[in-house]
Amino acid sequence: MSQSTNGKMLKGRDLITVGIFSAIYFVINFIFMLMSGFHPMIWILMPALIALFTGVPFMLMCAKVQKPGAVILMGLITGLLYFVTGQFTVVILATFAVGCILGEIARAVTKYNSYIGNTVAFAMFSIGMTGSPLPIWIMRESFLAQITQQGMPADYVATLEAVSSPAMLIVMVVAPLVTAVIGAFIAKGMFKKHFTKAGIV
């Protein structure tokens, strides 16, 4: 861990590490984004599914870059890439900002190298993705009208309206927290089984 002790600013090495793991994070993220087209439920549970599968890249990034700003940088890159693919909304921007800042605080409090701190940071970071389905609840009427007008099939919108009860909103927000903890746990297992042995963390 020699690289984490010299200085508290993000250096070239850290920037490259964050860049690479952000690419992996984004690929996994994007796969689920596309899959959300199959059924509205997948869309609502998308943040949770993403959290389950991105634990390893996120936790590995945290282990490699034990400095302030890494989580925010990862969030910024993801946000910018979503921007380029035209999937961006103001709501995602807001949830991502909140998630990343809370994640940074969690890591700062736990001095960047604790498993629990990184898990909390990951849970907060995963909450950022809830901005994608969140408009279904907070701008219900206009949002449903908008996606219908943009060509979403009527069946999909009708099912979406039926499954998005207020209780579902709680599920949508709590589920990523739970799966993020599971994702981090899987990551811990993989660290033990592979990465520590291979000498990369």
Binding site: G19, G151, P153, I200
Partner: protein
């Protein structure tokens, strides 16, 4: 010489990035079909003007396919298929303008020019470094997954084991790449705090302004209607 200059108009990377922003605003706010078709048509024209005839034809085919899919094929197919695929078609349609501009940027500009453009927009150097690594790493992931897939096929790995057997080598190779790339970049002075200079001089010409004006007009129209 003048002939080649005209047939190969180039857009400035800054124009390209601004167009990307405009295309996003249009994708986000547009509801009318004519504006969408107009945007796609103009982008095809721009691609041709920049000398990318083949990719223009390719995009044209994609556009026709998507609209045919959504209007003629899907209404006639079974309901489950129709619902799932019309969302794909819908996503793809929304992304098309951005993808076309992105494709044009990638095929006509080098990453170096885009970096200089980002720098001239005062994007922080740290963000520029990470995002250019991210962009460059996507093709590497694809290649890596293909190699891992080959290796798995040799050893008959299947089922749930496959996820772990893909993820672990991918992570290890990502970590190694990060190490190697950092060593190379640090040697070349990536951590030098001095202001970076570049051989590339960006210049906006009259073509850039025309493109930007038309792009802004379309954005305004999309926002109003």
């Amino acid at each position: 010489m003048p002939g080649t200059e005209i047939s190969r108009l180039r857009i400035d990377p800054r124009t390209g990035l601004l167009l990307l922003v405009l295309a996003n605003i249009i994708a986000f706010s547009n509801k009318s079909l004519s504006v969408e078709l107009g945007t796609l048509g103009l982008l095809l024209f721009l691609t041709v003007l920049c000398g990318q005839l083949r990719s223009a034809l390719k995009w044209g085919a994609v556009i026709i396919f998507l609209f045919a899919l959504q209007w003629y094929i899907l209404p006639a197919s079974p309901k489950i298929i129709a619902t799932s695929f019309s969302i794909f078609a819908n996503y793809a349609r929304k992304m098309l303008p951005c993808l076309m501009i992105g494709g044009l940027l990638i095929s006509t500009l080098s990453l170096r020019e885009i970096i200089v453009a980002l720098r001239s927009f005062h994007v922080p150097q740290k963000l520029i470094i990470s995002i250019s690594v991210t962009l460059r790493y996507f093709p590497a992931i694809k290649e890596e997954i293909a190699h891992i897939g080959d290796a798995m096929r040799l050893r008959n790995i299947s089922g749930l084991e496959k996820v772990e057997a893909t993820l672990v080598p991918l992570m290890i190779s990502a970590t190694n790449t990060a190490e190697e790339l950092s060593a190379a970049a640090v040697t070349r002075g990536i951590e030098n705090p001095a202001k970076k200079t570049s051989l590339i001089q960006l210049k906006m010409c009259c073509f850039d302004w025309i493109v930007l004006t038309v792009g802004s007009l379309f954005t305004v129209v999309a926002l109003i209607f």
